[in-house]
């Protein structure tokens, strides 16, 4: 086959069908419908199969992107899935929620002249096919006798659990909520990531032998120390997420009608408040909804509010669209659905209707100034620009803090913001305890959390003495007398001694 060049490939990025905006703004069905076979084959032709592909190092888990795309183009779909699954345990999820424009697709040379290869859409397509076909890469594992505990069932915990189970460990995930998935479940709504996809990925974990205990608040029901000292865990991974919502500290924040996006989304996604009173959790959405913030969380909150029947949904953000941290596709979708954006606007007070309910906000107009610590231009208030903004439901989506529970209940070392301190190998201050995902980095992304879970699994294996061949290094195999430097290698604690 002649080498492909930018001129010989299909010039237009293959469109992914989406639900009509007017229609979808009132339902919870998935917005982006995914590729059909022909579309996927066509898009796979657009990849130049670069020998030193930029996209691979730009992927947080280094998927062999040209490798899997080539297999798609050759119609070896199972092969393509195997390539993806080597690096990414949750392709159907990541294909839907990764900020591809900032990662693989952002550096694809096809994007220099045309639109970049739609790597995310192809990944999703192959992930969906795997779910539909029931593919899963379940290696033959020999139980190695090690017990591994995972705290938190978000993407970080899932990834770590899967890798440790594949290495032959007996793995249990503990989750505080009554359903697993972390933000994937309670945060990201159905129309962006259907519950069935999460369930399917979880089913694969169970097939690997991972046990999942929900309704278990670690730290309170038992501590991390107890897991190691009393419950027989040889190693523990903590992936409890960033979770604790921030408020601004402006007057009126406690009025009725003001809530965090986490509360709003949890009520809707986890507790089905949208189906009240058939489900018991109420929501009490107003007609005029304002969401403060413009990240992924904000976009999700806006679009859920719209689908639950709000008359008008507004986004209020103190910077501009260019600085918004949301996935571009989500902003586009939100705009198409009729969300009204108010850039360069910052609330300074929430106004009371005289009966304890919010009736609106007092806002200031902003302009962009010098870059701040995050490198983005700092929004500066324009003097005398105050105005009133009417709204009866006001939702905060301005970021999160570290969840305090494990800090309150263990001796784990935290950093100054309360996140768990972990070194380059993701080991914490406590021997045998590793941590990763949002609880270490602060709010980030699904793929970074997953990557952290896998990295921690590698460190955990090294710590437990499980070699990369994924067999435990045991005296019987090495032909020694069962003692290494005079220490009985079968003695489990031996493996807990970690070089400082």
């Amino acid at each position: 086959m002649a080498k492909k060049t930018i001129r010989t490939i299909p010039q237009d990025r293959t469109l992914m069908p989406v639900q009509d905006p007017a229609e979808r703004a009132r339902n919870f069905a998935e917005v982006a419908l995914g590729y059909e076979l022909d579309a996927a084959l066509n898009e796979s032709e657009r990849c130049l199969l670069c020998p030193e592909a930029n996209c691979v190092p730009a992927c947080p888990v280094a998927i062999d992107i040209p490798g899997f795309i080539e297999k798609i183009s050759k119609r070896d779909f199972r092969g393509a899935y195997d390539v993806v699954a080597d690096a990414n345990l949750l392709p159907a999820i990541c294909g839907r929620v990764c900020p591809q424009e900032d990662q693989c697709e952002g550096v694809c040379p096809v994007g220099d002249t045309l639109e970049p290869v739609a790597i995310g859409r192809l990944e999703r397509w192959i992930g969906d096919m795997a779910i539909a076909e029931g593919w899963a890469n379940l290696p033959y594992t020999e139980p190695n006798g090690f017990k591994v505990g995972v705290v938190g069932s978000g993407p970080a915990g899932m990834a770590c659990a899967a890798d440790m189970a594949k290495a032959g460990c007996d793995v249990t995930i503990y989750e505080a909520l009554h359903r697993p998935g972390g933000v994937l479940r309670y945060g990201i709504p159905d129309f962006r990531l259907p519950n069935e996809v999460i369930d399917a990925e979880y089913a694969n974990l169970t097939r690997l032998g991972v046990k999942i205990e929900c309704s278990t608040l670690v730290g309170r029901l038992f501590t991390i120390e107890q897991m190691i000292d009393e419950m027989g865990y040889d190693a523990v991974f903590i992936g409890t997420g960033a979770g604790s919502p921030q408020f601004m500290g402006i007057p009126g924040e406690n009025l009725i009608g003001v809530l965090s996006a986490n509360e709003f989304l949890t009520r809707c996604n986890l507790m089905h408040a949208g189906e009240f009173p058939n489900y018991d959790t109420p929501l009490h959405l107003g007609g005029r909804v304002a969401i403060i913030g413009a990240g992924n969380t904000a976009m999700d909150a806006m679009r859920v509010a719209l689908r639950l029947g709000a008359d008008k949904v507004h986004c209020v953000y103190r910077r501009t669209r260019a600085e918004s941290p949301a996935r571009v596709e989500e902003i586009d979708h939100a705009e198409e659905e009729g969300i009204e954006f108010h850039w360069l606007t910052a609330p300074v007070e929430i106004l009371d209707d005289g009966e304890g309910n919010a009736r609106g906000m007092r806002c200031l107009a902003m302009e962009l100034g010098e870059p701040d610590a995050s490198g983005r231009p700092r929004p500066v208030p324009i003097e005398g620009s105050e105005f009133e903004f009417e709204a009866d439901t006001i939702i905060y989506a301005i970021g999160t803090n570290a969840n305090p529970i494990l800090g309150q209940t263990s001796d784990l070392k935290l950093n100054e913001w309360g996140y768990i301190e972990a070194d380059d190998t993701l080991a914490t201050s406590m021997a045998g305890v590793f941590a990763g995902g949002d609880i270490v980095t602060g709010a980030a992304t699904v793929i970074l959390a997953m990557g952290a879970g896998r990295k921690a699994a590698r460190s955990m294996k090294a710590y437990l003495g499980i070699r990369d061949s994924e067999t435990v290094y045991r005296p019987a195999q090495s032909g020694s007398d069962g003692k290494i430097f005079g220490i009985d290698a079968e003695e489990r604690n031996f493996t807990r001694i970690r070089a400082a």
Binding site: A176, H178, S215, L221, F222, S244, M271, P282, H284, G356
Partner: protein
């Protein structure tokens, strides 16, 4: 942990104190081991249920159980009253949540339980007693019929006062009457703990304020997750905002903004009423065929008999509700 909770958490005992209050004892050995006074759980009745916070009123490490005392206040708690039987299961019982009580080195303590608040204050009374403190117990009820756990509570107290609004038992008057008596009699009270309806905790805090007695209250804002993730439970303490589920639920009563708490407790009044009415209607339609009220005890006589005392002005605000999916 074994998988005994896969199908839910089994109820191993139930006791009815009155038409509106009942006790459930739940099989949960790990929780029984972990629970400390001042903590609570979040329960879910079934897969359409909401997350209901309830204080751990007692725990028995030998039996491996925790005890909840529940007041049938609205739809969910009434449904629990009607459907929870020995042998049935709750979908979820998560906890123990919240920071446990810090007993400190308190030598003399007054423990005040208003109405249902007697249950959550009980484990504290026992813990203070075991810690060697001189315990003065004050409990208050509207009327004699509602009194429960009097003996159990009394057994942990060095002094004990009971009050009733109508004088049908003990001192006639509110618990603040009892508090005033205790303060008059003892000049050396180190701490007062008050648990009950916000209005009662507020009154207790106001009673002790002039005397400068440290006052601890346990707040009951509307909660969702109970893990610090939603901020729905935020309360105003002094100049700051705290999340009651992880920073509390106990706070300095002299710092709490009770008016803010009471306002926030009204958040879903209209929806709660709607949920209750719909459920009552559903029950009425089911009742004739498949239930035998006599056999099931007082609870099964159903919601008709226990119409909530609706404050007429409370529900006339206009409200909108989320539309069901797919509309």
């Amino acid at each position: 942990m074994d998988n005994r909770h896969e199908a839910g958490f089994e109820i191993v005992a139930r006791e009815d104190f009155s038409d509106v209050t009942f006790l459930l004892e739940i099989d949960h050995p790990l929780m029984a081991k972990a629970a400390r006074p001042g903590q609570f759980v979040i329960t879910i009745l079934h897969d359409h249920g909401e997350r209901i916070p309830l204080t751990i009123a007692d725990f028995d490490r030998e039996r491996g159980t925790v005890t909840l005392v529940i007041q049938a206040a609205g739809k969910s708690t009434r449904e629990m009253q009607q459907t929870c039987r020995v042998g049935t299961r709750l979908l979820s019982v998560t906890g123990p949540m919240g920071e446990p009580t810090d007993l400190g080195d308190v030598r003399k303590v007054v423990l005040v339980g208003g109405g249902l608040g007697v249950a959550p204050v009980f484990p504290q009374a026992r813990a203070y007693k075991e810690n060697g403190a001189y315990v003065i117990g004050i409990i208050g009820f509207r009327t004699k019929e509602l009194v429960f756990w009097e003996d159990k509570f009394k057994a942990c107290c060095d002094e004990f006062i009971i009050c009733s609004d109508d004088g049908s038992v003990g001192i006639k008057g509110l618990v603040t009457e009892g508090i005033k008596r205790a303060i008059r009699k003892h000049g050396d009270i180190d701490r007062l703990v008050a648990i009950g309806p916000p209005i009662m905790m507020k009154a207790a805090a106001e009673t002790t304020r002039p005397h400068g007695i440290e006052t601890v209250v346990s707040l009951n804002p509307i909660m969702v997750d109970g893990t610090g993730m939603c901020g729905g439970c935020r309360v105003k303490i002094g100049d700051g905002i705290k999340f009651a589920c992880v920073d509390g639920p106990e706070f300095d009563g002299h710092e709490v903004d009770f008016d803010d708490l009471m306002n926030r407790l009204q958040r879903y009044k209209a929806d709660e009423k709607l949920a209750f009415e719909k459920w009552s209607e559903d029950c009425r339609q089911q009742l004739p065929e498949d239930s035998d009220p006599a056999a099931a005890g007082p609870a099964a006589s159903g919601p008709e008999r226990q119409q909530p005392q609706v404050d007429a002005g409370m529900f006339d605000g206009t409200y909108r509700m989320g539309m069901p999916k797919g509309k």
